[in-house]
């Protein structure tokens, strides 16, 4: 699984960083992906982060 955050959509709410710190990190006022492909053990949390994102800024590039 590979994910990406669209910085033009991300509002920097930090929800994904809280839900899945293995994959997301704040970079200034945006979230970025620091772990691609997503580690197997983090996949569940990562999917949760994708679902929770209030503006749907996280894109699953490869499942």
């Amino acid at each position: 699984m590979r994910v990406r955050v669209d910085p033009d959509i991300c509002t920097g709410c930090e929800l994904c960083v809280t839900t899945c710190p293995e994959v997301f990190e704040m970079r200034g006022d945006k979230s970025i992906v620091i772990n691609n492909p997503v580690p197997r053990l983090a996949e569940e949390n990562c999917r949760k982060a994708v679902e929770e994102c209030p503006v749907e800024a996280i894109i699953i590039e490869e499942d």
Binding site: G12, C13, R27, G28, D29, N36
Partner: protein, 393 residues
């Protein structure tokens, strides 16, 4: 026949990669050629002085994309290649390998180069500068072999590298010619918070002083300072500022004045040539003046914006410039324009809590904030305040 691409991006740093991603997202598969001096595929820069150096992020995790991304999206990339000449009228670039390639739209993201010492002994080994992944690997390697270092320069690079070194158990002395740490960013009071914090973590500080000579035979063994101090060390890491790559623009007829001059849509004085990143001199509509900003946020933003505008979108620059860092357990967020403030007010928290926010004011109007271990909601509110206040200027 010379090859022609609808889009050529020169530079594979943060701005170049951001533009590449945006063009791909906008459907320009198969239409992009990227030229990079670097030997590696595009990678992210902030980890090079932080997580990567500290061994917290593996090398493969600093790359933006795998090779597959380039293949799947039909992006051609020439690594270890620079642009020797830009034919602005002919709309061609000539590369270091002598190839002439034509473009419809060109984006220049050359970045800046680390300023190098111009004092005695600078050709000794183990004096390091940090710009690229390979630079970071060399420093990381030195961290595994040696015990003591002097970091010259009290900017972000110096502060981040110092933090990484002491974490690895290396004796680190930070030498800055500034009156105090980050003297361009913060006042003495806030600087003393950081100095105390760093000292508690084991970093030695020398302010208001600078090296005048490196000592050693073959490799550096220490340095002498202007104040007459002698500091012994096994290696030196320098973050003493940057310089602009100018020559290429001067011969190409592109306007160059403290950077590649771009207008609101990131276009240069040639409407088919755009600029983004550290090396551009752009108009900041928030502070109503021309600026040059060497931070990740601006590089990423201006790269994406240039890509959209190359496609004809006509979207003007509108970012409240910001910089962030993480050292030890402190998360730093700074936004706005640090120059020309009259007063810095602590508006939240305190030094003892390791969590506070400082507001920069001029004539009572907010122009920047510096937040340590704070929340996004506060930053959003402060951004609104700065924009509102600056609209009144």
């Amino acid at each position: 026949m010379r090859k022609r691409y609808p889009y050529i991006i020169v530079g594979s740093g943060v701005a170049g990669n951001a533009a590449l991603e945006k063009l791909v997202d906008l459907g320009e598969k198969g239409n992009i050629f990227m030229i990079s001096r670097d030997k590696h595929l595009p990678y992210d820069r902030p980890p090079l002085s932080k997580e990567f150096l500290r061994g917290k992020r593996k090398e493969e995790k600093v790359f933006y994309h795998t090779e597959g991304y380039f293949k799947d999206n039909g992006v051609d990339i020439a690594l270890d290649t620079s642009v020797k000449e830009i034919g602005s009228k002919e709309k061609i670039v000539i590369t270091s390998s002598g190839e002439e390639i034509a473009f419809d739209k060109l984006l220049m993201t050359p970045g800046v180069m680390p300023l190098r010492f111009k004092i005695k002994g600078t050709d000794l080994e183990n004096i390091f500068y940090l710009r690229s992944l390979d630079d970071s690997k060399v420093i990381k390697d030195a961290m595994g072999r040696y015990k003591s270092a002097v970091i010259v320069g009290g900017g972000f690079i110096g502060m981040e590298v110092a933090a990484a070194l002491v974490e690895k158990g290396i004796t680190a002395t930070l030498l800055t010619r500034g009156r105090w740490l980050w003297d361009r960013f913060i006042n003495k009071e806030i600087a003393s918070f950081f100095e105390d914090y760093y000292k508690r973590q084991g970093v030695n500080f020398i302010v208001n002083d600078e090296p005048v000579e490196f000592i050693g035979e073959g490799s550096v063994k220490g340095l002498r300072t202007k104040d007459g101090k002698t500091l012994d060390c096994d290696f030196v890491v320098a973050g003493i500022g940057t310089e602009l790559p100018g020559e290429i623009f001067l011969s190409s007829g592109l306007a160059f004045d403290n950077g590649l001059v771009v207008y609101e849509y990131m276009q240069t004085n040639n409407p088919d040539i755009f600029g983004a990143g550290d090396a551009i001199n752009f108009y900041d509509p928030v502070f109503k003046k021309r600026r040059r900003v060497e931070h990740w946020g601006h590089a990423d933003y201006s790269g994406r914006l240039a890509a959209e505008n190359m496609k004809g979108v006509k979207k003007p620059y509108d970012l409240l410039t910001y910089v962030f860092s993480r050292v030890f357990d402190l998360r730093l967020e700074f936004a706005g324009d640090e120059t020309g403030y009259e007063e810095i007010k602590i508006i939240r928290g305190g030094f003892g809590d390791k969590s506070f926010t400082a507001l920069y004011l001029k004539n009572g109007l907010a122009r920047a904030y510096f937040q340590i271990n704070g929340e996004q909601a506060e930053r959003a509110e402060l951004e609104r305040r700065i924009r509102d206040d600056q609209a009144k200027v």
